[in-house]
């Protein structure tokens, strides 16, 4: 119980710092500094420099600027619009075709972009106005885009999975491969949710009536093909062992720059913006890891994660019930914390407990990522909600929130499915070995 008490103090102190609006990396780092001076020998403060230099020179982290660059370059092109148009044409007269098309456009874009807000912004800025123009309910148009955008972090490459991999020392290649099947299942579950909503109230998504010629259908694929080829190249090179995740990131970044150049989007100011965004995100990411690992170091020296693990393992309840509790806690915290903070703060505390219960670290990484997806669309701080509010002129927060809430159900079902059948995530990485 002592561990839980100390953990509570840690969380409360952290929340107080975060409430001022201080960057998460600074808040976790300061908690580490305070922890050192209160409980550890002062010499332990030198760990902050060790972690900074070790992590910034960690070869695994070289993957970050490369995958961020890949997403930034593609977001600068009109490829999001082309993906949505292709889905719209191919799904044709299906009920809720545009909304389902948005989900699959997000899934396709997610295969080349590891960021949920970038996916939601890129697809949403064009899909939402188009859906509303065609008579779709605002709530459905906004909600499905917010939820679809979350696929960007489950379908590899995924920036949060890299962060999880670094914090827990889990193979990033395995995490990426493990995200593929759950990512596809999530896209299907989100689409089923759309179908259910349209079945209940057909007026929220009027059916398309126009028939298109076969030629038009195939022409629409011209932008889908390079995106899919790029996604397959990245994952295929990791899966076949031709490239490490870092090298695959380089292939993806180069490929996306080539696609952007081919589409005529690569003008000097755009290039400058792409690279500026890339390095700023990289710095944010590395500092987040430094702050997170430093506070995790202090927590570990105080025995808090170990104590929490011991307490949870010794509880007289089945492991799945403990996992459900952890997931519920993550869902609640996800309502108030952004995805990165969740990863940096919660994972180091619960990871030892989860592995002590016999669960696979790769599997837990996928579960955590889906939890982060839920956090991204949970009010009041769901990041994707704010993304849509910003990129869609005139979008009202109440419509976005109302539309998104129902999509928490398929995501939660996905977690339940993964707890019941861990092989959904694990069979593909296992085949790889």
């Amino acid at each position: 119980m002592e561990a839980l008490g100390e953990l509570s103090i840690f969380l409360v102190a952290l929340l107080v710092l975060l409430a001022t609006g201080a960057p998460v990396a600074v808040a976790t780092g300061l908690i580490g500094v305070i922890g050192v001076y209160m409980f550890l020998p002062p010499a332990a403060i030198s760990q902050v420099a060790n972690i900074t230099f070790t992590q910034s020179s960690n070869f695994v982290l070289v993957v970050v600027p490369l995958f961020v660059l890949m997403g930034e370059a593609l977001a600068a092109t009109g490829i999001g619009r082309d993906l949505f148009t292709a889905m719209q044409i191919w799904l044709g007269r299906l009920p809720g075709a545009l909304a389902i098309g948005t989900v699959f456009a997000c899934a396709c874009f997610g295969a080349v972009c590891g960021s949920s807000p970038v996916t939601a912004a890129t697809i949403g800025s064009m899909a939402v106005p188009e859906m509303i123009r065609k008579g779709y309910a605002k709530t459905l148009a906004l909600g499905v885009t917010a939820a679809g955008g979350t696929l960007g972090i489950l379908i590899p490459p995924s920036i949060p999975m890299i962060l999880y991999g670094v914090i827990t020392e889990t193979s990033i290649g395995d995490l990426f491969i493990a995200g593929i099947v759950p990512g596809i299942i999530m896209a299907v579950l989100l689409s089923i949710t759309v179908l259910f909503q349209v079945w209940r109230d057909p007026s929220i998504a009027p059916r398309a009536t126009a028939e298109l010629a076969a030629r038009e259908r195939y022409t629409s694929l011209k932008s889908v093909i390079p995106v899919m080829a790029l996604g397959l190249m990245v994952i295929g090179s990791i899966y076949t062992g031709v490239a490490t995740p870092t090298e695959a990131g380089a292939v993806g970044a180069l490929g996306s720059l080539a696609v952007a150049a081919f589409l005529g989007s690569l003008k000097p100011p755009v290039i400058a913006r792409i690279f500026a965004g890339t390095v700023r995100t990289t710095a944010m990411f590395v500092l987040l890891i430094v702050g997170g690992l430093f506070s995790a170091f202090v927590l570990a020296r105080l025995g808090i994660p170990q104590g929490t693990a011991k307490l949870l393992v010794e509880m007289n309840i089945p492991p799945w019930a403990i996992l459900v509790m952890i997931n519920l806690l993550l869902m609640v915290l996800g309502m108030f914390m952004d995805p990165m903070s969740l990863l940096v703060i919660i994972v180091p505390v619960f990871f030892p407990a989860v592995t002590a219960l016999g669960y696979d670290p790769v599997w837990f990484g996928v579960v955590i990522t889906i939890n982060i997806e839920i956090a991204a669309i949970s009010p009041p701080v769901g990041f994707n909600l704010f993304v849509l509010k910003t990129v869609i002129p005139g979008a009202e927060m109440k419509d976005i929130v109302m539309g998104s809430l129902i999509f928490i159900i398929p995501l939660a079902l996905g977690i339940i499915g993964l707890i019941a059948f861990p092989d959904i995530a694990l069979w593909l990485p296992r085949m790889m070995r």
Binding site: P23, V26, L69, E247, G249, A283, V286, M340, V381
Partner: protein
């Protein structure tokens, strides 16, 4: 004066960092091609890209702070009246400076030791620690200066400046800004 100085330095740092990121991309691709096409992997690409990553990070640290790219949980602060928001932002910048000061102290200490020891990295290519570490204190010092400049700007602004966050950006700027600070 300080604001103009830090903005200029940050612009230069951002450009250097961007070029280094491009160089990392080129080096890793070059090695991948040599290994898989010519069966002749380099011995230096892996370590060089690692060391360049240190420069990318420290050069971009302050520009990221200036652009508001470091993720924060602002739900509490955003819902406060302008007067309270101003004080919270001043407080948060003081926290940034406090952590930055500790980081600067420790990173400088490690760098001074690296210069005194003159030791090598335990890597295949022979690189001295000091040749990589020197950028640490430089990057964190600029981070501290940027935080100080932002603190002074907040201190000087009246509560009316904190009434509403500016959202008047082009779609491209929005996408770029959103990608920073989010996942």
């Amino acid at each position: 004066m300080l604001e103009r100085l830090t903005r200029r330095i940050n612009r230069v740092f951002l450009i250097i960092s961007g070029w280094l990121a491009a160089a990392i991309l080129a080096i890793i691709t070059y090695d991948l091609v040599l290994r898989n096409v010519f069966d002749a992997p380099t011995t230096w690409a892996l370590d060089t890209s690692r060391f360049m990553m240190v420069y990318v990070f420290f050069f971009a640290l302050a520009p990221a702070l200036e652009a508001g790219a470091h993720v924060s949980v602002d739900i509490f602060e955003q819902n406060m009246p302008p007067k309270v928001r101003r004080w919270l932002q001043i407080l948060s910048m003081l926290f940034v400076m406090t952590f930055g000061a500790f980081l600067f102290w420790q990173v400088t200490r490690s760098t001074v030791e690296a210069f005194q020891d003159d030791s090598l990295f335990p890597t295949f290519i022979q690189v001295k620690l000091k040749e990589v570490y020197w950028i640490g204190p430089v990057g964190v010092a600029e981070f501290l200066l940027t935080a100080l400049s932002m603190l002074l700007a907040r201190w000087r602004s009246g509560p009316e400046a904190f009434a509403r966050a500016p959202l008047a950006m082009s779609p491209q700027e929005r996408t770029t800004t959103l990608s920073e600070g989010g996942v």
